[in-house]
């Protein structure tokens, strides 16, 4: 059974707080209105009662005075008019007293006072009547003496009348006081209720604020943990429904980040491995370049020996054949290494792209990396052309070797050694062609990997501060490697050029069979140039090795960075 109203949402709590405040205000208003009504109705009824008593008292006083005046007048003039006025005044006074006594709101002491007034008035009336009778009988002095007694009663009566007025005044005062007290009591009640409702509302507000602040603090702490790289799952605890949604979102974000960082770690590991591979191949390449250089030197010395021992052309041709063989092999090796470098650079670029995309989530960086990859792809085109060229060279070298063999056969006894060399050159050309074929296959593999890397890059997404610069550095290193590869290619082309020139030279050897000495000399100088080119290639290879080291360091840095994420 779910409750009708969810108490754990901020909205409900705020509404409850408002409702408490409003309810309190309504109660305050009701009490205030009630107090006003009570005070008003009490005041009205008291006023009415006081007015009635006061009106009847005034009538009584008036009629009593009128009667006493008439009594005195009769004593003075004995007129019938005064007599009638005295009688009428008496009747009116008695009626007034009856009406006064009939009023419901009179206190008992007031009733007693009124009774006493009535008695005194009756006495005064009797005494005046008696005096009037004396007067009627001509006993003036007796009448005046009797009237004096009546006046004493009358003055006592007037004293009681003033007492009654004072009592009414006191009652009015008491009424005012009690009304004031009632108003004060209600006012106190109003204030108490008001303060209580404000306190309740404040308590609810404070509770609501706390139920916001505490979960917010926990959420902030969790976010800071994520920011500092601690991606382990966070227990956020109970919180209002709205914040619980935010908490869930953060929990899911943490999970996504952990997955992503895991991928990045894998990628960086792979990159590091690739960098190591690259480094190893660079060293191998440097060694191979040395081999080329050595081989070309050998070609050179072989040529020189050919010059010196043209007559013993068999051995010299043999030497030339070996040297040409070495040069071909070296060229093939260069091609292979170039392919390896391209592949590794490409792998590296792929890793960098994946890492930067995953960590920085910067589309432009990803695009930049993608451009790099495309450029790499584009750069592999010249390698293909280069391989074609090597194939062509191999083919022509093969033809040249065939021609050389024919020419050696025609040279007879003197050309026997040279024919052996020519055979070796031809085999070298075959081997070069095969190597070119393998390089071609390798390039294709590289291109496939480039495509795969594009997909990997699309997958990688993450936010990691500082990774941008690292990946930029890595990208820079990649560009340097690519430049190095370009230089290697240049150098390789130069080797190829030299090899072509060797062909020319061998062509000229064909002519030099007649003037072998000059040809052999020219051949020797060409071989020296090849050696110089090979040395140049060796220097480039060293530079590439240095770049591989940089790349390795970048990979290590990247690896340490992602290691900072604790997942």
């Amino acid at each position: 059974m779910t409750p009708l109203v969810a108490l754990n949402t901020l909205r409900t709590r705020i509404v409850l707080g408002e409702a408490a405040l409003v309810a309190g205000l309504v109660v305050v208003a009701a009490i205030g209105i009630g107090a006003l009504r009570t005070v008003r109705s009490t005041a009205a009824s008291e006023l009415e009662s006081l007015t009635a008593v006061s009106a009847q008292s005034n009538t009584l006083v008036t009629t009593l005075f009128e009667q006493m005046r008439a009594a005195e007048q009769y004593l003075a003039d004995g007129s019938m008019e005064a007599h009638n006025a005295f009688r009428a005044g008496g009747e009116a006074a008695h009626a007034s007293q009856r009406r006064l006594q009939a009023l419901p709101d009179l206190s008992e002491s007031d009733r007693v006072v009124i009774s006493q007034i009535e008695t005194l008035q009756a006495e005064a009336e009797v005494l005046f009547s008696h005096a009037h009778a004396q007067l009627d009988l001509g006993r003036r002095s007796d009448a005046l003496a009797g009237a004096q007694l009546a006046r004493e009663q009358a003055s006592e009566m007037l004293r009681l009348l003033s007492l009654l007025s004072a009592s009414q005044g006191a009652r009015a005062e008491a009424t005012a006081r009690s009304l004031e007290q009632a108003a004060t009591d209600r006012e106190l009640l109003v204030w108490t209720t008001l303060v209580a409702s404000v306190l309740i509302a404040a308590a609810i507000a404070v509770a609501t604020l706390r139920s916001v602040e505490r979960p917010m603090a926990r959420l902030a702490a969790a976010a800071q943990r994520f920011g500092s790289g601690d991606l382990r799952p966070v227990a956020l605890g109970a919180m209002p429904a709205e914040l619980a949604q935010l908490g869930d979102a953060m929990y899911r974000l943490g999970g996504s980040l952990r997955t992503l960082v895991g991928e990045v770690v894998d990628e960086s590991e792979r990159m590091a491995t690739a960098a190591e591979d690259l480094s190893a191949i660079s060293e191998q390449l440097a060694a191979t370049a040395g081999d080329v250089s050595t081989a070309m030197e050998e070609v050179s010395s072989g040529a020189q020996r050919q010059v010196s021992g043209l007559e013993e052309s068999s051995s010299a041709a043999q030497t030339l054949h070996d040297a040409a063989d070495d040069a071909g092999r070296a060229s093939r090796k260069v091609a292979e290494l170039g392919a390896d470098i391209h592949r590794l650079a490409e792998t590296y670029a792929s890793d960098i792209a994946a890492a930067s995309k995953a960590l920085v989530e910067l589309r432009n960086l990803v695009q930049h990396t993608a451009q790099q990859v495309e450029e790499l792809d584009r750069l592999s085109e010249p390698i293909n052309e280069f391989i074609d060229l090597i194939k062509q060279i191999s083919s022509q070298t093969n033809l040249l070797a065939l021609n050389a063999a024919i020419e050696a056969a025609r040279a007879g006894e003197q050309g026997v050694g040279f024919s052996v060399v020519a055979e070796e050159v031809r085999q070298l050309a075959d081997t070069s062609a095969q190597a070119a074929e393998r390089v071609s296959g390798t390039i294709k593999t590289i291109r496939d990997q480039v495509a795969a890397m594009g997909e990997t890059m699309a997958l990688g997404r993450a936010q990691a501060r500082g990774v941008g610069s690292v990946s930029q550095g890595a990208a820079e290193a990649l560009r340097n490697i690519v430049r190095s590869v370009e230089e290697i290619e240049t150098e390789s082309q130069r080797v190829a050029g030299q090899a072509e020139r060797n062909l020319t030279e061998i062509e000229r050897i064909k002519l030099a069979l007649r003037s072998a000495s000059a040809a052999a000399q020219a051949h020797a100088s060409s071989s020296e140039e090849v050696a110089a080119a090979a040395e140049q290639q060796g220097a480039s290879t060293q530079e590439m090795a240095a770049q591989a080291t940089t790349l390795h360091r970048a990979a290590d840095h990247l690896r340490s960075l992602v290691r900072g994420f604790r997942s």
Partner: protein
């Protein structure tokens, strides 16, 4: 019929009795009430409980009557009050009895002011009011005594003025003339100027004394000393004047009750009263008080001692329930708490006794 088994206890039923018992006029009221209570208790009380009279003397004074009324009102034990005697005291006390949350019944044996009719729902009386007395006296004066000029001396209180007004109204209607109306009170130095003035202004066929016994006696004394012998009439206020040694022979008095009126109940009452108190005769106040004791006894037996239920029972007497047959006659109440269908009798003093004037 004994209802003793139903009584919650032997606690006495308390009834208040208030009147001017230190004065001569109040004596019969107290004696008769005590007689009735003694008779009832001798027969086993009411519902098995004895009746206890709490007697308070109000001196006939308004202020004392109010204090007495307050003390009865504030005692929860007091089930009802018999009293008061005069109109002024009864009216003042009635305001107390009818006030507040626990109003209490008071039944007067003799308060005859017309104002008492409006005193409140808890106020009853078993005597006719002054209008009845006034009209009966006027009728007697005009028809019985053939008087045409009547001088009125009235006590200057509610009773005297009420009786005077009622008499004047009836008498002038019959064709008679009021030659003078003079007030008196205990403070009056003397009746002589009034009576001399009446005399020198042509005299009167009769003099009505509308007041209490004391004033009546003083006036008779003055008449005596002046050798002035008009016919004298009076209301029940001067009841008892027959025993006063003031030459009251021939004075006519209007009475709610005359001891010699017929009826077995009255016979029994007179004999018991005589047995208890010797040669004295009960007056109308005594007869009324005697009836009230028995009436309250009957009411309490029927509805218990609850003040409101007693009032309701009394209010329905003569309409919802059969009227109570008492010494003074059948008692039932109208909506004002006044006894219904009660006429007065005119008595005359013969040999220091009041006898019926009609049977002269």
């Amino acid at each position: 019929m004994h209802l003793a088994a139903c009584a919650p206890s032997d606690q006495p039923i308390v009834i208040g009795l208030a009147g001017p018992f230190s004065q001569q006029t109040g004596q019969s009221m107290q004696l008769a009430a005590q007689l009735a209570v003694a008779e009832l208790n001798q027969r086993g009380g009411v519902s098995g409980r004895p009746i206890q009279l709490v007697v308070r003397d109000d001196s006939g004074s308004v202020s004392v009557a109010v204090r007495v009324a307050r003390s009865f009102y504030d005692s929860p034990d007091v089930a009802a009050v018999i009293g008061h005697m005069g109109s002024a005291a009864t009216l003042a006390a009635a305001r107390v009895y009818n006030s507040g949350d626990t109003p209490i019944v008071s039944i007067s044996p003799s308060a005859s002011s017309p104002d008492l009719s409006q005193a409140g729902p808890y106020t009853f009386r078993v005597c006719p009011d002054d209008r009845v007395h006034g009209s009966q006296l006027a009728d007697w004066a005009y028809r019985g005594l053939q008087a045409r000029r009547v001088a009125v001396l009235y006590e200057n209180d509610a009773y005297g003025r009420g009786l005077r007004t009622a008499f004047r109204s009836s008498f002038t209607e019959l064709g008679g003339r009021i030659v003078s109306e003079d007030p008196f009170s205990p403070a009056l130095p003397g009746f002589e100027p009034y009576l001399t003035r009446i005399r020198i202004r042509g005299g009167a066929d009769a003099i009505l004394i509308a007041g209490a016994l004391d004033g009546g006696q003083r006036m008779l004394n003055t008449l005596n000393s002046l050798q002035f012998n008009p016919t004298v009439l009076g209301g029940d206020g001067i009841g008892g004047i027959e025993t006063a040694n003031v030459g009251a022979e021939g004075v006519f008095v209007s009475l709610a009750y005359l001891h010699e009126q017929p009826g077995a109940r009255n016979e029994a009452f007179r004999s018991a009263y005589g047995q208890m108190y010797g040669e004295q005769l009960p007056d109308h106040r005594g007869a009324g008080a005697y009836d009230i004791v028995y009436l309250l006894g009957q009411a309490i037996e029927q509805v218990g001692t609850d003040r409101t239920r007693i009032r309701d029972y009394l209010a329905g007497l003569g309409t919802e329930t059969e009227g109570f047959e008492g010494v003074t006659g059948s008692i039932g109440f109208d909506s004002n708490g006044d006894v219904v269908d009660r006429n007065v009798v005119i008595g005359v003093v013969r040999n220091r006794r009041l006898v019926s004037a009609e049977r002269r």
